[in-house]
Symmetry: D2
Subunit: 337 residues, 4 copies
């Protein structure tokens, strides 16, 4: 959009970059449409050209993650477990691996109630340097042992490039956490490591930025990306974050990648995990990530949002019934296309 | 919380107001707890007292809307239809009443698919003074005629104190819209009018402010308040608002009032109405408000988020099945207490 | 923006409304530009047309408030005091009128330090119905008496249509508060009342919505609108609101109306009033609204953000020096055009 | 805060962790205050204990960054230039280093107008993998050459742990960007590298999280941290971010570290840089970071927010006059303590 008689310079700049410019003349403004390969536009700082009031991007900058270029929904295989095939998966476990005993106890509970994945942090990104930072390597080994013990797949967070190799050795799926969603160095390296990646939405990331982050991973040759909505930062303080369940529908429309939901971080309150887990399934999520702790009152991290084993079993029972019913009755939350 | 040796003045000010002060001494700060009738604290501007770093409110300022004082969930009767009794109600119809024909056509569709309420705006609050402002009185009359025709209850928005009498004459339930959630003059008057009130959450209202707004209505003698989550304002621009479904669980925990969900305004996109409607039911909402238009492509207001009759029937079919199944299987989203 | 071969229907719908459609063809999408009188577009729900992915508004919906149609900055005369003429005005006083004594004492302090306006609420919009709601009529009379006593102009909030007449009788300028910024009934009536209006920005209002709210007032024949930035709602909890000083620059660019800044509500902390008042002046604000109380520790409302008389005098001294220096040295914060 | 008779378990858990519990009994709730070393509380997941409704943290988790433990404002020396000594510093230059010629031209302009630092990105974190990612090593060398040429200090961003060594070799100050503010691995390593660090506020970081991020760096033995406010993410879309100038006052109150302001990223519009730069100085900022480009219309990154050389000189002239005047007249924005 631009004013006055300055459209000539704008059009020239666009043409110089090998792009086509189309002009629409309104009574107050001229609108100049730009058509062509978007990457070329990077070389034209449209807003900075004299006479330009503002510019608006119409086409998306991600391609590999986009449904436009890949209409079929992707199914991601993680060591034999399929994510995105119509049956929701559950990743459950404690926020942090605290000890072998705690982890094994949690893993047994998780397994017994029917989840497919064990989650648990060995590397913990914490706001304060004085908070518990995780058992690191030792924690990874306990996770691998818990996998042997239960047959569950393991998903765990990787917070630094240096840790990727170690995590990839022990885990079936690497998690990139919310605080690292735009740690582009890390994204590129997990894109190279060959393991499926669970990409959590950033604390205040738009859906567009999130899909661009997925694009960073996919652009390195790794198509196995699963997205995880975990709540966004808003003005509301009652919940730890605001769980944005409409992101499930948005991602299903914009992308072919599977999306799961984390109601534990999304709300920060164990009381809300059950209703939000049910809601996620009804909205069409491909799975859930849930914090469960043998004894939340003794958890070293995120106790307030961890379920007791009993609550957890109730959630599992409900979501299994709900998802089976929806499949049986052909209740389809999101019409694609 | 306060520093230095100034706690004496603080304690005196609290005592003068007839409240009790309890002091806890930390190594860096003193914490002064205040116990007693919260309304008395209004006369003590605690943060402004010398030495005070900050004050934090622990108890809630609403009472009539609080579950603490009314543990039993309320069921609101609107002309014979019960809201909050375990079976979700549906309020559907066009955003705005545009003509008798449009409204009757919409009402017939709404009725046929099994909703209990017809919604439709006769007074429309619009961002720009040049947008369609509604048919006003004429619109109210069409709504009353559509009620006669179909047997549906009518819920419609009231935007000014002057309009209350007219709206109350024709409608079964008065809606207070998001932009007026803290129009306290309006809240007091709908509190006096005797009709049940549907109170939408403000654009950027906290749950605490929302329940305080309900308190304004209830404090005038009207206990028949139903809350409606309709999306909050966040940084995300893909959706018109961010539908906060965790508000359903929060309100169920904090209040005894019923809560319904409006996925049409909550997302601003018709494609997202179905998944979010299913999610709301699974989260335990007491009902839904849905925009449906005989021909959304001709709607004078909010076409992009209105369902076609066909989409609408699909939504209705899904939520009926889902809610019946959850009742049958005793899948309880929110454990109270 | 739209996909597939559906552009024909879109173009027809636009043409039917008497508007011109221009098509730009990209490789993935077609872009349809719409040219003509924007009010006609209200009859075409573009997003709801088949094949449309999304629509984006380019031209603004406000005209009277826009600088495009009124390049010259407006100077608003309030009972002889000019707002917007290059010399910042100050509106100071207590949050609420509490008693004749408190108000007179405050007015004397305000006057002595050199402000032009006395502010003070007679009608107070409060989150809880149990908080102090203002002295109402009695408060208005005290304000009028304080005006007689000091020669200060009086600005005070009007919260209901019914109160306009009374407030207009006693006050020189009517304030529409943040919670009522989209109370369109109130906006229209203050637009008819003939008195200058101070329009505060809504809690979570965009600049576009704010200027549209001004348009409601101006569209009723009242051009005397002054805007007031008072902080917006964000995720940050350290301050009561986030004071958006860039709104000063934005409003100066988009509109010809004067804009003042309220650092007291904008921060909620008296310690921050001085630096933010200085910053507002340096950013080019046309004035300030500041809470000052003879004894903040006894204030019935907003004590934590009220200045003591001593702090207030320091602020006044600083802003007078700063604004005089900027004028003298021709330091112009905002280059218009 | 807690209900019912469950306070006994809570008190026991607190005592077990070696902390003291003090109980205040209200009519509806009991409040249990916890006193002692905060790090011990990490082992007690208070909210998860039976009967607990919520917990509120009173004392801060950062210590080295806190003014409570270091009342004197810190002055950070960067290769002889002092930040925080009362005279604002300016860091200016292009968003990205694009070529030797562009950088040298920019450096000469920056130097001539009187800045102390040259800024320019060699490693660029970009939302899309297809956007220009910076010249990397080559860019660092150009920066070092520009330093030789002009005598300006160099500040540039480091985005990965692997890049620290190279950046530290060529730059005088390492910048941690907004997207990496909670990249804790990176924070720890820049804490070990010995060079002063410019820590930008995260996109949606609270002031508390920001000071905790500084704590990560300081806790590794590096006390030379300067904070940089660069706008936060809000619902407002007119500006790229919302520049939170009240953060200057907040940081001055809570911390002894210097704070500078980046009005270029903070607003995203070159028109707003001048007024916001003036405002930052008036608010008491210790400096500014400003994007200037020899020819913004040709910039590969952030052209819309870059100043032309002419605009830049105007900004520099204004802030020099303003800061000199404030010093001379002893206009103190923030009263500490």
């Amino acid at each position: 959009m631009q004013r006055q008689n300055k459209s000539k310079g704008v059009i020239e700049a666009i043409n110089e970059a090998g792009l086509e410019a189309k002009v629409m003349e309104g009574s107050q403004q001229k609108i100049v449409g730009v058509i062509g390969d978007k990457t070329r536009l990077a070389a034209v700082p449209v807003d900075a050209l004299p006479g330009v009031e503002t510019s608006i991007s119409i086409s998306k900058s991600y391609k590999l993650a986009s449904r436009e270029f890949h209409p079929q929904s992707s199914i991601i295989d993680v060591a034999g477990v399929k994510i995105g095939d119509g049956t929701p998966v559950v990743m459950a476990g404690p926020c942090a691996v605290e000890s072998k005993e705690q982890l094994f106890e949690a893993a047994d509970i998780v397994k017994a109630a029917g989840a497919q994945f064990l989650r648990g942090g060995a590397y913990k990104p914490r706001t304060s340097p004085y908070s518990f930072q995780g058992l690191e390597d030792e924690g990874l080994k306990y996770l691998a042992e818990a996998r042997e013990r239960t047959g569950l797949r393991v998903v765990t967070e990787v917070t630094t490039v240096e840790a990727i190799e170690g995590v990839a050795k022990y885990a079936d799926m690497l998690q990139v956490g919310a605080r690292n969603m735009q740690n582009f160095g890390l994204l590129k390296e997990v894109g190279k490591c060959g393991k499926p990646v669970l990409l959590k939405r950033g604390l205040a990331a738009t859906i567009d930025e999130w899909l661009n982050a997925a694009e960073y991973i996919m652009n390195e040759g790794n198509p196995n990306v699963v997205l995880c909505e975990r709540g966004i930062r808003t003005y509301e303080t009652y919940t730890r974050n605001t769980l944005d369940l409409s992101a499930v529908a948005a991602v299903k429309h914009l992308s072919h990648l599977p999306i799961i939901v984390d109601p534990s971080h999304g709300t920060g309150k164990w009381r809300m995990v059950k209703p939000m887990a049910f809601a996620a399934i009804a909205a069409g999520a491909d799975g859930l990530m849930i914090e469960v702790h043998p004894n939340p009152a003794k958890a070293l991290s995120d106790g307030p949002q961890s379920l007791t084993p009993e609550n957890y079993r109730e959630v599992m029972s409900g979501i299994k019934k709900l998802s089976a019913f929806m499949k049986e009755e052909n209740i389809v939350p999101m019409t694609i296309g």
